[in-house]
Symmetry: C5
Subunit: 90 residues, 5 copies
């Protein structure tokens, strides 16, 4: 999983039917210091994450394990909202 910050959302009227009602957020990968990374992508949200929050994102087939409907065409899902990150990097 990767640490990301939610930076926005995306809207699509014409889409795969299985995506109806799914909240699609734009997330940006964070590096360990919590500063901006380079990578941005779209992740489904089922935990109620808001813009600006730091989140844990699962990718690939794992992303669908967080969906009620396993047949959705989703490859990235927000699976947790970060309370704290403890780093001890010596």
């Amino acid at each position: 999983m990767i640490l990301c910050k939610v930076i926005g959302s995306v809207w699509a009227t014409r889409k795969d039917e299985a995506l109806t009602g799914v909240k699609l957020m734009i997330v940006r990968r964070l590096n360990d210091s919590g500063t901006k990374g380079a990578e941005e992508f779209v992740a489904a949200d089922f935990v109620g994450a808001g813009v600006g929050e730091k989140v844990i994102v699962a990718t690939g087939s794992a992303a669908r394990n967080a969906c009620l409907d396993k047949e959705v065409p989703i490859d990235a899902t927000i699976v947790g909202i970060v309370d704290a990150v403890e780093l001890q990097d010596n």
Copy 2:
């Protein structure tokens, strides 16, 4: 999922049978400002996306969940046509 712009299409007569009738588009990954990114690849299209449109692309095994036939050799599918992107990146 990733945000892309449809920039073209690709034609192949000799191909895996399961790809018969599947529209294969060339898409380019967008960065958050909607400007050109560096990454281009081929995505199947089942939502009727046109060249020039901004789309949401699902990759990996998720891509096949957007296909009627789950046994197709497809690893990227256009799953939505973007109406709007809202970014609030502070």
Copy 3:
């Protein structure tokens, strides 16, 4: 899927039994202008692609959907031979 050029082949006598008889080609990822990209890898070929041809390669679990035997240890397969690429990138 990604656009590649077939640039060679690889031979292995000692290998996983499921790969017996499978033609393994070396392919190089193309960028949109059809010029050389940086990425090279090995892809199975079931459509009869020749060295020098431009092809469509499916990767990941999708690659096995192009194989008769779904239990092969194959993560990249040539699924089409490109006739034409139309690009309209404004």
Copy 4:
């Protein structure tokens, strides 16, 4: 699988239910000399790895084979704690 060093942990109260009780560590990819690499991500831990330890991390669908519950939204798992790495790179 990739060699990583455990550099910290992440806490999330609001999360996917299947992640309850799962220890989520932050790991950093190592290069062959055991020095710091650039890539950091979150991996589930079921082998009791501690911060500072060098570990083997499985990614993608393989990560869930190390979980009792295969339906967890987990895409990276610590599957071993490294005793020794022998390199003979000529």
Copy 5:
């Protein structure tokens, strides 16, 4: 699949039970000229590859198709030992 050179091995006593008895090698991705690439990772070996040998490595879910036990947490497997690579890159 990717071409790699076996450059070492890794030992772990505390590990996922399914990895007991599995030989874990460190491999380095080769570029087309057979010279050193930048990428190194851990791959399971069931074909008896030795350090210094050039091998074909399958990644992702494909890697487990080369394992007797499909439930192992393995995402990369050596599936062949290279006899020859023929390149015709014009």
